[in-house]
């Protein structure tokens, strides 16, 4: 009977080997997944979800899922920048969910949605930081022009709003400002919302990444 393996008691050797095998299998699966989905010089990943496909920086964390009942679903994708200070938040509404959203929030037109979402975030921040102040950033922003051109290129009726919030939150006795871009558009009676929001400096740093993500988005037909 084998009593020792690699100089260790047999059960101990089996344990060590098992741990190494688990690690090896897991690591090779991660490596394989990574290499098979890398695009654009290996710094971006391409992913197909239930509602769209897009590219995103490989260092960014992505979270996705859906909420709601069978005919009233909202598919959500969150992309966090590598410093976790900026988020790109995408919401895809089914037709039923769109009607519910508009009705529940007393909205009659999608043009009012960016303002509604910006106000919602600002109100929440105000409850945490009473010094928070909201500023609108005007049409002359390069990013807004980019978004406008993106919408026109795809034939979307698109509405957007760019805001700054001073003293949005406090950490270690330091106040931080945030910037947010809110976009809404309707496709076949289905609402699509995009929010690009984060700490001011991180937001600025990740603007180009956001533009590339936006450019790469291809939306599929969403079934109810």
């Amino acid at each position: 009977m084998i009593t020792k393996l690699f100089g260790m008691r047999l059960p101990l050797a089996i344990f060590v080997l098992s741990v190494l095998i688990f690690l090896a299998v897991g690591s090779s699966m991660i490596y394989s997944t990574l290499t098979s989905n890398l695009v654009e010089n290996g710094n971006w990943l391409h992913i197909k979800t239930d509602v769209c496909e897009l590219n995103f920086p490989r260092g960014w964390y992505m979270d996705k899922g859906s909420v709601g009942e069978e005919n009233k679903t909202i598919y959500i994708i969150n992309l966090f920048s590598d410093d976790f200070q900026t988020i790109t938040h995408l919401e895809f509404y089914s037709e039923g969910a769109t009607q519910d959203f508009m009705r529940e929030n007393n909205l009659t037109d999608i043009s009012s949605i960016p303002d509604f979402e910006a106000q919602r975030i600002y109100n929440w921040l105000l409850s945490q930081s009473e010094n928070a102040t909201l500023y609108l950033i005007g049409e002359k922003s390069e990013l807004l022009n980019f978004v406008k051109n993106w919408g026109e290129k795809h034939g979307y009726e698109i509405y957007y709003l760019l805001i700054d919030i001073k003293n949005a939150y406090k950490e270690s006795n330091i106040y931080y400002n945030t910037t947010g871009l809110f976009i809404s558009l309707m496709m076949d009676h289905r609402l699509f919302k995009i929010i690009f929001y984060g700490e001011e400096n991180s937001w600025e740093k990740n603007q180009d990444n956001f533009k590339r993500i936006l450019s790469s988005i291809k939306i599929f037909e969403v079934s109810d």
Binding site: V19, F22, G26, M29, T33, L34, R58, W60
Partner: protein, 166 residues
Amino acid sequence: MDLSKIDYWKLIHILIGGLTYLVGVFFLEMLVRLVADWIFRTTAIYGVLAYEEAQNAYYIIRLGTIYLPSGFFGGLYTGYKIKEKLKLIMMFPSITGFLLVLIIQYFLGYMTLIISASLLNLAKIIAIPFIVSLSGSYLGGYTINWQVEEVVEEKISLLFEEVKES
């Protein structure tokens, strides 16, 4: 059942083995998460976790680095304290420890996720980690007793030889 025949010390050792498993799970969970986070950030590949294949891969890594070693440590202690009937005794540190983990998760609010999970997810959350923990427990118990069984066998064979000679 005659309660006076139950060795309460064995029950206590099994419980301690279960607690060893529990501490192992929480400590290793924290350690693995920290190390994985560091690796994903340093190599800038956090995005890979968006894919189901990578999530499954991370799950496999967690099985081998959290549940298997925790079961091993629980079995190691229990096997050190209880030398007989290992085939039966070694399942209990994992059962005890795993139940303690589930109880704590219930109080932390994770049970609602488990209750609403599909059959496949239930297998991933409960059945598979338990089986892996059980394997670790047996490996731990038999590791600490492996040498003892060899010596006992040698002593027995020596005794037989002496009896034959006399």
